[in-house]
């Protein structure tokens, strides 16, 4: 009799251990991997058994590295790098395709974002160790080279031909294009995944921690892990794909003679854009469009044109200004939760 009780107790204890183990694991049914690419951190959380997740992550990094090898201005192997250094280069169909996509989106956005600002960004050196304010003369000279119409993408002969002194800087689009590639790596998979690439996000599949995907928007006045608000995105079905991208003046800036210069340059003036905005977050159905839109919206400011652009891409956005005020486009109004009471709604009539 006693022996039986003991046996039962032992069996039940094993059950307890299993239960505890399973439960502590239920929130962790994902595999997380990190890599460095294109000067940013790439992190993927894949809700799949480790082996499959590993395989998918390999495909994602292959895709992202492929973008780096083709359109990065800092990768010596890329046709873009070659063109920037010699004025022209041979380019494969993929590179020309991606550059063509960028030009198309920029044309829709009236050239408010522009990949031909390379000479300007190099002058300011925001990505270098020694950024500086150029002279007005230098800026005027660099501005002469800016313009989508001065860039020739020759599909027939497979080449990129820049005009005199022109340089490409696909920086405002690279992360978005990389996330588009991450989606291609995942799209046949039946697993959910969250891929973040230097502040841009790809949400794929069914949400795993409730009925919505939740994405924090960085607090522009605090550290990189602090969010002032959270968006809850509820998919209609399990085949959800969502991209978020944020442009903020808190990123890459420097102070010279008491003036702080942020890295978002106006292709029109050649100077960091003067605006009350400190960040714009865009949620769209594509990586390239969300990335390009967040920069374009930041540069153009909150106005009718900007809101029309968002609409034409089926995108939504959250604008934040220096007075800790925010503006949310209609489609996100029910998805928005404020985490910090010191922020308040902007009085803008959209």
């Amino acid at each position: 009799m006693k022996k039986q009780t003991l046996r039962r107790a032992a069996a039940l204890c094993c059950a307890a251990l299993l239960l505890a183990g399973a439960c502590s694991g239920c929130g962790r049914s994902f595999t997380e991997r990190t890599a460095f690419a294109m000067g940013s951190v790439l992190t993927a959380r894949i809700y799949a058994p480790e082996e499959q997740a590993e395989k998918l992550f390999g495909r994602i990094t292959d895709g992202v590295n492929g973008v780096d090898r083709r359109i990065s201005a800092t990768n010596p192997d890329s046709p873009v790098y070659a063109a920037n250094h010699t004025g022209s280069s041979n380019a494969d169909a993929y590179t020309l395709n991606k550059l063509g996509d960028i030009v198309m989106v920029c044309n829709i956005l009236n050239g408010t974002v522009d990949p031909t600002v390379g000479a300007l960004t190099e002058l300011w050196g925001f990505s270098s160790d020694t950024p500086r304010k150029p002279t007005d003369g230098e800026i005027q000279a660099a501005l002469e080279t800016v313009g989508l119409e001065k860039l020739l993408l020759d599909d027939v002969n497979g080449s990129i031909i820049l005009s005199e002194g022109q340089k490409l800087d696909p920086g405002a689009f690279g992360k978005g294009i990389a996330l588009d590639e991450a989606y291609l790596a995942l799209h046949t998979a039946t697993y959910s995944a969250v891929v973040t690439f230097g502040g841009s996000v790809l949400l794929f599949g069914a949400p795993k921690s409730g009925k919505s995907w939740t994405v924090g928007i960085r607090d522009p006045f605090k550290g990189e892990n602090d969010s002032f608000a959270t968006l809850s995105l509820t998919p209609d079905d399990d085949n959800y794909v969502g991209y978020l991208s944020t442009s903020g003046s808190y990123e890459k800036n420097f102070t010279e003679n008491g003036v702080t210069y942020h890295h978002i340059l106006s292709p029109e003036t050649g100077y960091p854009v003067e605006t009350d905005l400190v960040s714009v977050t865009v949620c769209a159905g594509g990586g390239l469009s969300s990335d390009a839109l967040s920069t374009a919206c930041f540069i153009n400011g909150l106005n009718e044109t900007t809101l029309r652009w968002l609409k034409s891409f089926g995108a939504e956005a959250v604008f934040v200004n220096k007075d800790k005020q925010y503006y949310i486009t209609d489609g996100l109004k029910d998805c928005f939760t404020l985490n910090d009471d010191s922020f308040s709604p902007m009085d803008h009539e959209g």
Binding site: T43, V194, T230, T281
Partner: protein
């Protein structure tokens, strides 16, 4: 038959079941707590150190081959020194919650607390 049934489910068993559930709950809490404070140091995509922050009693520094120094404290981890120009890694401050991360991009070094904070969002954009 009735006798047999009584043998299978006895009042004493209920106490055992309750005890087992209590033990499971405690174990779960401990396991969940442990997984919430595991930090990793990643260099160029390679995890070079995994640290249980809840087991850290006294702060210490880890100096990496690339010259970056990471400070490990009870329940926290942060960049302490780096030769990078912008020092964004240092400005990122202390990480204490699951899902938080900070990077020194010029040195391709990342620190993070693994797992996902149940109260936190799926991702952060910014």
């Amino acid at each position: 038959m009735k006798d047999k049934l009584q043998k299978i489910v006895r009042p004493a068993d209920l106490i055992v079941v309750a005890a087992v559930l209590a033990v499971a709950a405690v174990l779960w809490a401990v396991l969940a707590h442990l997984t919430g404070t595991t930090a990793q140091i990643v260099c160029d995509g390679e995890v070079i150190a995994t640290i249980d922050l809840s087991a850290v009693k006294e702060a210490y520094d880890v100096t990496l081959d690339n010259g970056v120094t990471v400070r490990v404290e009870p329940g926290a981890i942060c960049f302490a020194a780096s030769d990078c120009a912008n020092l964004l890694c240092i400005h990122a401050g202390k990480l204490t919650r699951a899902g938080q991360s900070a990077a020194c991009l010029p040195n391709k070094t990342l620190i993070r607390i693994t797992g996902r904070d149940r109260r936190g969002p799926d991702a952060l954009t910014g």
